[in-house]
Symmetry: C2
Subunit: 192 residues, 2 copies
DNA sequence: CTGAATTTTTAACATATGTAAAAGGAATTG
DNA sequence: CAATTCCTTTTACATATGTTAAAAATTCAG
């Protein structure tokens, strides 16, 4: 296998060993698509039945709160991006997925993937490990937002995910941190 | 099967169908224990290798932030309670589990459970569904805390989980909402 | 390259929430 | 039942963050 998917599958193997057979089956479900900067990958309203991975570029999940966008998640290379609240509850999603740069993503139908799980147990394990990792990350975010000040959260983001602060417009970073753009700007000024 | 575990297993069946065989195997791993009010179920520092379910009573997960307790989660009857950040990363937990009333919990060794997964695929599915549900719940909590005011969060908690406000000391509810006790008290006064 | 659009910063003011201390209530224990 | 401890509310004040508007800086499109 020497496709554009190779680095992604290598990343998978670090999480869960997968048989060659499984990789072949999985590859057949992968659809690779390009999105241009600010392009919509999935819109608000549909029930999520697709799992994405970012091959290159950056994507985000966001939703509207009182007419203004709130960013919930940023995905970089090899990251899983999925609207879990919709996929796991089979209800329409209030969230959208958008490319923040020209990006290439691979999409996998969740139904087809679940079908594969019947025979390829290692893929089911892989998927569940990915979900567990996302869950742990969300728990960490909750902790931070629950009891750190805005400035502490920004400092922590700088340390742990400098790529977010560097590559992503600050207006998106602000809502990701749970604060306004103005407040983030103030914090950045006070640190300098 | 006519044990104290019956209602819990019935709740499981609503999430994922399980064979009689699997139920039997699972039952053999279950250890039922009673805890008295405010008793410690698991302390801070150890790596989590145990999964709990509340059979009766209430339990919480909390951690220390600058010497004061922050409550992260409340578990009621049939709820899963587990320190996921530790279980899924194999690192020592900074969190503790405590009974808030006289409670009965069942504990299952995660290693033993994972062992069962090799033969009882339905149990693995069940466990992963439970993790997915916890993940979705955590996402919801993150959304709330990210962009609702303290008062809105309290109102929402009243609507969605009135049992928390009714049964649990407000000092614990406050940190669960990401605010101080004083602030919660103020909000309650302003609503009356 | 230039003008327009977008993003970021700054300013001034409003408000929600934090902090500390004390008082009032409720629950627990001997 | 009394006494102690714990929990909740109240008060007064401090501060972080929100809001609105405008200015400055940056990016984008023709």
């Amino acid at each position: 296998m020497k496709s554009i998917l190779f680095p992604l599958f290598e990343a998978f193997k670090k999480i869960q060993s997968i048989s060659l057979d499984s990789i072949g089956e999985l590859e057949r479900l992968c659809e690779v698509k390009s999105y241009s900067k600010n392009g919509e990958i999935q819109g608000i309203g549909a029930t999520c039945r697709t799992i994405y991975f970012v091959l290159s570029g950056v994507a985000r999940i966001y939703y509207l709160k009182d007419g203004t966008e709130v960013t919930e998640y940023f995905a970089f290379e090899n990251d899983l991006i999925v609207r879990a609240e919709s996929l796991f509850t089979n209800t329409p999603s209030k969230k959208a997925i958008q490319a923040l740069e020209d990006s290439v993503l691979v999409s996998i139908s969740s139904e087809a993937l679940y079908g594969l799980f019947e025979k390829q147990h290692d893929l089911e394990r892989l998927f569940n490990r990915l979900v567990q990792n996302s869950y742990v990350e969300t728990l960490r975010r909750l902790e931070n937002i629950q009891f750190l000040t805005a400035e502490e959260r920004y400092q922590k983001l700088l340390e742990e995910h400098p790529e977010i602060v560097q590559k992503i417009p600050l207006k998106y970073v602000a809502s990701f941190l749970g604060i306004t753009q103005v407040s983030l700007s103030r914090i950045r000024a006070s640190i300098r």
